[in-house]
């Protein structure tokens, strides 16, 4: 009962708080925290899910009305949630360490960027960019292209395990990025490091602003991806992946077709990234190879590990924590420190204005991140929300 009241109260209070102080990062964090609390609280399932649906469908867009940046953060979180869930299939379920995952994201992004911008005129003569409505079929095209790329990567690495697999996938990720960087000659496919712009956006229904539109689209895709992920996990396909992760030799001997299952894992994981790539390119209007570096792959992997390998809630939380940390906490801290500096505040006789710019917390993004990962591995190696085994009813007919 107390948890019910606390859930409703916390969520309402923090939402009101954000509306009252739309600039306060802390209160927005409180709002996000209340979502996690509701997810974990001991309250009736119906109440839990209604609260979460209201928060994501109603409160979040309203908050976005007060501060558009928060909606942008939420959209970014959604994008990374889908990436983390895709990688979770490959790494968490099938146990195939993939260090070049962002390559599939790039493949999806470039597939819409090329055809959804005037850039394609250079290759095909004229008639481009495609109308914004083509964006929707391209979500599917991006999915298929990325899945095919996934199979293409999967084929040569079928026999590799562990470290060797990691090295090859790392190389693969770099190959895709370097290709994007250099395929401006002889035929200008990707426009090289200059990137492609402007990329068409789909027409929004009901005259929705783009911020809200992309937020809802990402939310929809997250829901679809979570459902797909859960269904795969709770099927013979998911069990085969886990068996491969646990003991490849035994899995083969028990009748798991290794090649097909590994390729399927790569293709499924890649397809999620492909869809999100298409959306990402439309949202950003501009993409270049800088968005698809090795560090991005590592970032997504860190989300999966932080949340708990093989766990869907884990991947979602991991993606949220990392993205919010990068986009809000550290940036917010830097901003706050700057304000103090400009106001000429002194701490223990030391004027903050003398603080060198090298000490800006935003510059320590990756370090803070690294420290968190190290601490996690020491104190909670299984991740924040580790995967839980499904418990089955113990009844047999005539048992």
């Amino acid at each position: 009962m107390t948890q019910t009241l606390l859930s409703i109260g916390l969520m309402t209070a923090s939402a009101l708080g954000v509306a009252t102080f739309p600039r306060s990062v802390l209160i927005f964090l409180l709002f996000q925290g209340s979502l996690v609390f509701v997810y974990r609280a001991r309250i009736p399932e119906l109440l839990r899910w209604s609260l979460l649906v209201v928060a994501l469908l109603v409160l979040m867009p309203v908050i976005g009305y007060f501060n558009g940046y928060y909606l942008e953060v939420a959209t970014q979180v959604g994008i990374f949630v889908v990436l983390a869930l895709g990688l979770n299939i490959v790494v968490g379920l099938a146990g195939l360490l993939d260090l070049g995952y962002v390559a599939f994201f790039a493949v999806g992004a470039y597939s819409w960027a090329i055809f959804g911008s005037p850039h394609a005129n250079i290759i095909f003569g004229g008639g481009f960019p495609l109308a914004g409505g083509w964006f929707y079929p391209f979500l599917l095209i991006g999915l298929c292209t990325a899945a095919l790329t996934g199979i293409l990567l999967g084929l040569p690495v079928l026999r590799l395990h562990g470290d060797y697999l990691a090295i090859v996938t790392l190389g693969f990720g770099e190959v895709i990025r370097v290709l994007a960087n250099n395929l401006d000659k002889p035929i200008n496919l990707t426009n090289g490091p200059k990137g492609i712009t402007p990329i068409s956006r789909p027409p929004t229904p009901l005259g929705l602003p783009y911020g809200e539109y992309f937020y809802f689209l990402v939310l929809l895709l997250v829901v679809v991806v979570v459902i797909v992920n859960r269904r795969l996990e709770d099927s013979h396909i998911g069990r085969a992946w886990e068996a491969i992760r646990e003991d490849e030799l035994a899995a083969r001997a028990m009748g798991v077709p290794l090649v097909r299952m590994k390729l399927m894992a790569f293709a499924c994981g890649a397809s999620f990234a492909g869809v999100m790539g298409v959306l990402f390119s439309a949202k950003q209007i501009f993409i270049n190879p800088e968005s698809f570096t090795f560090l991005e792959s590592i970032g997504v992997l860190a989300m999966v590990i932080l949340g708990g390998m093989g766990s869907i809630p884990g991947a979602i939380l991991g993606a949220t924590v990392v993205t919010v940390l990068n986009l809000q906490v550290l940036k917010g801290f830097s901003l706050w420190l700057n304000e103090l500096k400009n106001a000429g505040v002194t701490v223990l006789g030391y004027s903050l204005a003398d603080l060198p710019t090298q000490f800006e917390p935003a510059k320590y993004e990756r370090m803070v991140f690294g420290v968190i990962l190290v601490l996690m591995m020491i104190f909670r190696p299984q991740g924040i929300f580790p995967a839980r085994r499904r418990q089955r009813e113990l009844t047999t007919p005539g048992g």
């Binding site: 085969a240 035994a250 899995a251 001997a253 028990m254 077709p257 499904r390 048992g399």
Partner: protein, 262 residues
């Protein structure tokens, strides 16, 4: 035509000949393969199940050549096995381990899984019921939701048996199923196997060190030493064979007796 037949199987690892022209045939019932450590028993199993490709020889099951088939294809044909050093899927529950064993019998595709159509739901509930039935058969039903890693040793051995049975094999290869068990546990496992042979029309090849078990349960015994078959026949015949006695005990001594340990 025998159910299962291997002819002239030779397997070399570099300079070491692990198997040298081994012939093996089995019609039905329970056959045991015995021999001192390093005799090539497990290598023979690995050849039978497609994990190793032999350098020479042929293996047929129900008249079909097994060589060149992948392990999962061989399992689909109806040959399944357990491992000497227990290879369960450690972080999956007992029932999930058994469910993986059923994979080769599932014909559903990706679309069935994603759409959760009635075909898929019916299949999943049937599988779960069958898996729990198998666990019940080996006496593990109460531990169905326990992660395999956390099961006691004897239960893990029995879970491996249930997992192998899940693929509905006609021929089951058991690699030292009673290793590490007390005489009592081994006895009850053998009673279980006898029951399975009768109920499921199952044929079993057993690698075993526990001689009491071997002599009690086997219809035929094959003895390997240094990769060669040195004797074959009924338990009584093998026990009396001078070459077997020599392989186990050296030139002078009594018949093989008791477990040699795993």
């Amino acid at each position: 035509m025998p159910l299962f037949e291997a002819r002239g199987v030779t397997k070399r690892f570099g300079g070491l000949t692990a198997l040298h022209g081994v012939d093996f045939a089995l019609e039905r019932g329970i056959a045991s393969i015995i021999g001192p450590n390093g005799a090539g028993k497990t290598t023979l199993f690995n050849v039978f199940t497609g994990l190793y490709v032999p350098d020479e020889g042929s293996v047929t099951f129900r008249g079909q050549a097994l060589l060149g088939l992948r392990p999962d294809q061989i399992t689909t044909l109806g040959v399944c096995r357990t491992f000497q050093n227990i290879r369960l899927f450690a972080n999956m529950t007992a029932v999930e381990n058994v469910l993986v064993g059923m994979n080769s019998r599932i014909t559903l595709g990706l679309w069935d899984v994603l759409s959760h159509n009635p075909r898929f739901r019916r299949s999943e509930s049937d599988l779960a019921a069958r898996a729990l039935g198998l666990l019940d058969r080996v006496g593990l039903q109460a531990n169905a939701n326990v992660v395999a890693r956390n099961l006691p040793y004897g239960d893990r051995r029995r879970l491996e048996l249930a997992r192998a049975l899940a693929s509905e094999p006609a021929l089951l290869l058991l690699d030292e199923p009673t290793a590490g068990m007390t005489q009592g546990e081994a006895g009850s496992l053998m009673r279980l196997l006898r029951g399975l042979v009768a109920d499921l029309d199952l044929t079993i090849i057993l690698i075993e060190h526990n001689m009491r078990v071997v002599m009690e349960v086997s219809d035929r015994v094959t003895v390997l030493d240094h990769g060669e078959k040195i004797a074959e026949g009924s338990p009584r015949e093998v026990q009396a064979s001078p070459r077997v006695i020599e392989a186990y005990l050296g030139r002078r001594g009594a018949a093989p007796r008791g477990a040699r340990g795993a």
